[in-house]
């Protein structure tokens, strides 16, 4: 076990270097002048007076790829990811501000996906071929085909436009004012957690109110996927001998399902958690834009639209690290849960 962890950790820097080189190589598609122009507002108005060639030289934009790459890496080592024109702050600062927002959204989304998927999947499997099962089968096919941006917009139309229950954004104006007070400590950057830690439950509740719709919007597809997996996996385990034994012992059906069948049926479901994180980060891009929720996803879209390369590189790196590390944790978790898997 320890050897496996060490081996995985040892490959981590290599993967990160490859990933960062891959991302950085995208820069080559743009000319030095295009990259420079992003930093100069109204370039076409003052155009003639800008010493473009000098600036390109000064910032080393005409250097060969590997020189630029290494100077970028050097900057990262010192915590300097560059300046983001689209966020109007250093990339590192923008990331520390937006990343917790996205993580918060992902946590709420993951709760909806796992609780809903496992619960409803169990219900469908235990009512195999009855009405709830049939409804679940059709509903999940619809759920898988429902794009996040359409579902998100429809939620917005109904619950904000019509009913006015759940507003877009991250916080209401009054809560925003509270959060920026000097007496309010930002422990995690997540409004719900910080609200509770500061004893401002009204702020936490307001944050949750803003989180619910976007979380729901990008959960629906994953929830459907998980529900189907849970259903089929549980149906398979319910036919196993040990389940029959448990029933023959005269255990309550509820106990058989909860303690004997479902625990084993959960194993394949956990592997989904790995792809879940990547899919949720992708979904966050759309959902955050739809709901005007200022997180990493929206940051990357505005950065991309403004050709803000230092921001794109920074976000990509953070996402890459996040996915690689979480996948490693999930792999280990899987080994812990299923002792029959040998570590390669």
């Amino acid at each position: 076990m320890i050897r496996y962890v060490m081996r995985r950790l040892a490959t981590l820097p290599l993967i990160l270097i490859l990933l960062s080189a891959l991302i950085f190589s995208l820069v080559l598609f743009l000319s030095p002048y295009e990259r420079l122009a992003v930093f100069i507002p109204n370039a076409d108005m003052v155009g003639a007076n800008i010493p473009f060639d000098e600036l390109v030289k000064k910032y080393g934009l005409d250097q060969p790829f590997y020189v630029q790459y290494f100077s970028w890496l050097q900057g990262i080592m010192h915590g300097n990811l560059g300046w983001s024109p689209s966020a109007r702050m250093p990339v590192a600062e923008a990331l520390s501000k937006y990343f917790p927002a996205t993580v918060e959204l992902m946590i709420v989304g993951a709760l909806i996906v796992f609780i809903g998927g496992i619960g409803l999947g169990t219900y469908a499997a235990t009512h195999h071929n009855k009405l709830p099962d049939q409804v679940a089968r059709v509903a999940t096919i619809l759920g898988v085909s429902l794009p996040e941006f359409i579902f998100g917009l429809l939620l917005l139309v109904v619950f904000y436009g019509w009913l006015g229950w759940f507003p877009p954004g991250r916080l209401s104006q009054w809560a925003e004012d509270v959060v920026y007070l000097s007496t309010f400590h930002r422990y995690t950057g997540m409004n719900t957690v910080d609200g509770i830690l500061n004893g401002r439950f009204d702020v936490a509740l307001d944050a949750l109110r803003h989180l619910l719709l976007p979380a729901l919007a990008y959960s629906i597809g994953l929830l459907s996927t998980l529900l189907r997996m849970m259903r089929s996996s549980l149906l398979e385990t319910l036919n196993k001998d040990y389940v029959m034994t448990a029933r023959a012992k005269g255990l309550l059906e509820r106990v058989v399902i909860r303690k004997h069948a479902r625990r084993n049926a959960l194993l394949p479901v956990i592997t989904l958690a790995g792809s879940l994180i990547a899919r949720m980060l992708g979904g966050a891009v759309i959902v955050e834009t739809v709901f005007n929720y200022r997180g990493m996803g929206m940051f990357v879209v505005t950065a991309a639209q403004g050709l803000d390369f230092s921001a794109i590189l920074g976000v990509s790196l953070v996402i890459g690290i996040f996915i690689i590390v979480t996948n490693m944790i999930i792999d280990l978790l899987y080994v812990v849960l299923d002792p029959t898997i040998a570590l390669g």
């Binding site: 993967i15 490859l18 619809l142 085909s145 639209q305 794109i312 996915i323 898997i341």
Partner: protein, 301 residues
């Protein structure tokens, strides 16, 4: 043909095929349904007026117009051609790349397989959508750029599925007997291994057409895909974004701006999902409901 008959006999599969055929007919007869104003450039959405407000369905524009006077029906009808184009080009290209890379890697084994799989892992360690956004931004606006970006990052799952299939098929007796007959590796791979391992890839592909079109639509929705005014479903939804909230008395006042494009995208994707789903059940009853996730032990192979 046998499997086609089985798909047709399944009500869900039949619904899927009907939905796909419906959109195929629309795409093929686009010039008849909505004759373009400018035949040189049929993909730029017809503008009925230059009014900044959307106008409700009328004889002039059967499904209404979005802000800027863009004809919604025209956008949907000509957009269907682009949906098929993106879906089919991307899926067929990525399928070929993935099948060759994953399949040949697994068949050859050893260092080739190792290198290909590490590259696949590298591509996998990044959210698909963000990768495609970054790539298409760098390449510039236009649907062809989106297609290219989708291909560059889209082959990885085919490589994975194909690899795990080939790994099991190449141990089968008929492969060893082919080898003992003195057949070349080329022949064994293309005539014996590949035909026996390709079905899961086809299932994946049919589910993927819908998913790919969705990603392309999401890109235009975010404003990084096709040029403004280009007939594209995601763009139609993007046009609708400003009109979601209606007026204070009528929250659904501009319903036509988002309802029709939404129905369009959902039915198209649903068609492919239903087809793929049924195809999987038909081709391999054992795989039922499992293809959405990675195989439980695939990571530890």
């Amino acid at each position: 043909m046998d499997s086609l008959r089985k798909v047709l006999r399944n009500p869900l599969g039949l619904t899927g095929l009907i939905l796909i055929s419906f959109w195929a007919v629309i795409a093929l007869s686009a010039p008849l349904i909505c004759p373009p104003k400018n035949p040189q450039n049929p993909y730029s959405v017809k503008r009925v007026s230059y009014s900044s407000l959307p106008t409700p369905p009328s004889p002039k524009a059967l499904l209404g117009t979005t802000g800027g006077g863009y004809d919604i029906l025209y956008g949907i009808v000509w957009g269907s051609r682009n949906a098929f184009r993106v879906g089919l080009i991307v899926v067929s290209t990525t399928l070929v790349i993935g099948v060759l890379l994953g399949g040949l890697g697994a068949f050859a084994g050893g260092i080739a397989d190792e290198i290909i799989m590490r590259i696949t892992d590298l591509f996998m360690s990044f959210p698909f959508l963000i990768a495609v956004i970054v790539m298409s931004i760098v390449l510039g606006k236009g649907l062809d750029k989106v297609i290219l970006a989708l291909i560059v990052f889209g082959w990885r799952q085919y490589a994975r599925v194909m690899r795990s299939e080939v790994l099991s098929v190449k141990e089968k007796d008929f492969v060893s007997s082919a080898r003992s007959l003195g057949m070349s590796s080329f022949r064994i791979f293309f005539f014996h291994v590949m035909p026996n391992s390709i079905f899961p890839v086809f299932v994946l592909a049919s589910l993927d057409v819908g998913a790919t079109v969705l990603i392309a639509a999401s890109l235009s929705f975010l404003g990084v895909g096709a040029e403004p005014g280009y007939a594209d479903w995601g763009q139609m939804i993007n046009f609708a974004r400003s009109w979601l909230l209606g007026t204070s008395e009528h929250p659904f006042f501009y319903w036509y701006t988002y309802v029709y494009p939404s129905i369009t995208i959902i039915t198209f994707v649903l068609g492919w999902t239903l087809l793929g789903d049924t195809l999987r059940d038909v081709l391999d009853p054992k795989l039922r409901n499992n293809l959405y996730a990675a195989k439980p032990n695939a990571k530890h192979e």
